[in-house]
């Protein structure tokens, strides 16, 4: 029988079982790295560094995980904090660098692939909308869970998801279902 995340966390807590923690990393590395790649706008090296930092922090602070939320939600929160701290360190005010992004967007050379267009459209969203879309629509978190990860009110998450969706729909109108 496969152990649940809660079982593995308990082993880390009681026996300081690093193999159990390794299993947790194996289970969640893809979603955490994926989220960070999207947040860093596909900077793979930076995203992986932040993902490593995320798991190291999770290990050091695992006693603060109370099991009130899913382990993945708790990890996303740490990952998001790592991302924000790194952005501040780099003196990039998160979500403001939109001018540069807009200048990168050239519809004349848009790739015909839907995925490429989707990723590009996603990267054009302001950070607060992008984060909400990534957590709720891509990673399947509820609005309440996303609010906990992003540390913002529930209503703000709902607004950000709605606005982000509208923008994506407009950008991808040509690809939409008939």
């Amino acid at each position: 029988m496969e152990l649940t995340d809660a079982d593995l966390v308990a082993r880390v807590l009681v026996d300081d079982d690093q193999h159990a923690f390794g299993e947790l990393v194996r289970r969640h590395q893809s979603s955490v790295r994926g989220l960070l790649r999207q947040l860093t706008r596909t900077d793979v090296a930076l995203a992986d560094d932040l993902a490593q930092d995320t798991f190291l922090r999770a290990y050091k602070n695992i006693r603060s995980f109370r099991g009130e939320a899913r382990f993945s939600t708790w990890l996303y929160r740490i990952a998001y904090n790592c991302f924000r701290e790194d952005a501040r360190r780099r003196k990039e005010f998160v979500g403001i660098n939109e001018e540069q992004l807009q200048s990168e967007y050239d519809p004349q050379v848009a790739d015909p692939g839907l995925r490429h267009d989707l990723m590009h459209a996603l990267s054009l969203l302001p950070l607060h909308e992008r984060s909400a879309i990534l957590l709720c629509c891509q990673n399947g978190l509820s609005h309440e869970e996303a609010a906990r990860v992003l540390d913002i009110p529930l209503g703000t998450v709902k607004t950000n998801v709605l606005r982000g969706r509208e923008k994506l729909k407009r950008t991808l109108a040509a690809w939409g279902p008939d």
Partner: protein, 113 residues
């Protein structure tokens, strides 16, 4: 095109645009950076507790004239009425049970993730 249909389509595209990322040594790299395992101090703690208990017993034995207080206490117990003996036994049982429950609750909260 209905809005719900479009939302579902968008969400599906977003999920499909996030393929599984192969581990490729990532977990190993994380594990390499973990701090050294905490030393197990349980056995040391047990030795200290046992040593203290033995020392306290030896002291009590020596200071009480070869454990004479036990004989006196037993003699007093035999003179107690049956009701008081039962009450004493019941009270002791309750105290032990309460201590057990407290220990179990404390262990459970330690195990809870």
């Amino acid at each position: 095109m209905d809005a719900k249909h479009q939302e579902d389509w968008l969400d599906r595209q977003l999920r499909e645009a996030a393929p599984y990322i192969d581990d490729e040594g990532f977990t190993w790299r994380v594990l390499q950076q973990l701090p050294a395992r905490r030393r197990r101090r349980d056995s040391l703690r047990a030795v200290i507790l046992l040593g203290m208990a033995l020392l306290a017993s030896a002291l009590a034995y020596v200071l009480s004239d070869g454990g004479r207080f036990l004989v006196v206490a037993m003699a007093r117990l035999t003179t107690l009425p049956t009701f008081w003996l039962l009450a004493l036994a019941f009270g002791s049982g309750l105290i032990l049970m309460a201590a057990g429950v407290v220990a179990a609750i404390s262990k459970a909260s330690e195990l809870r993730p």
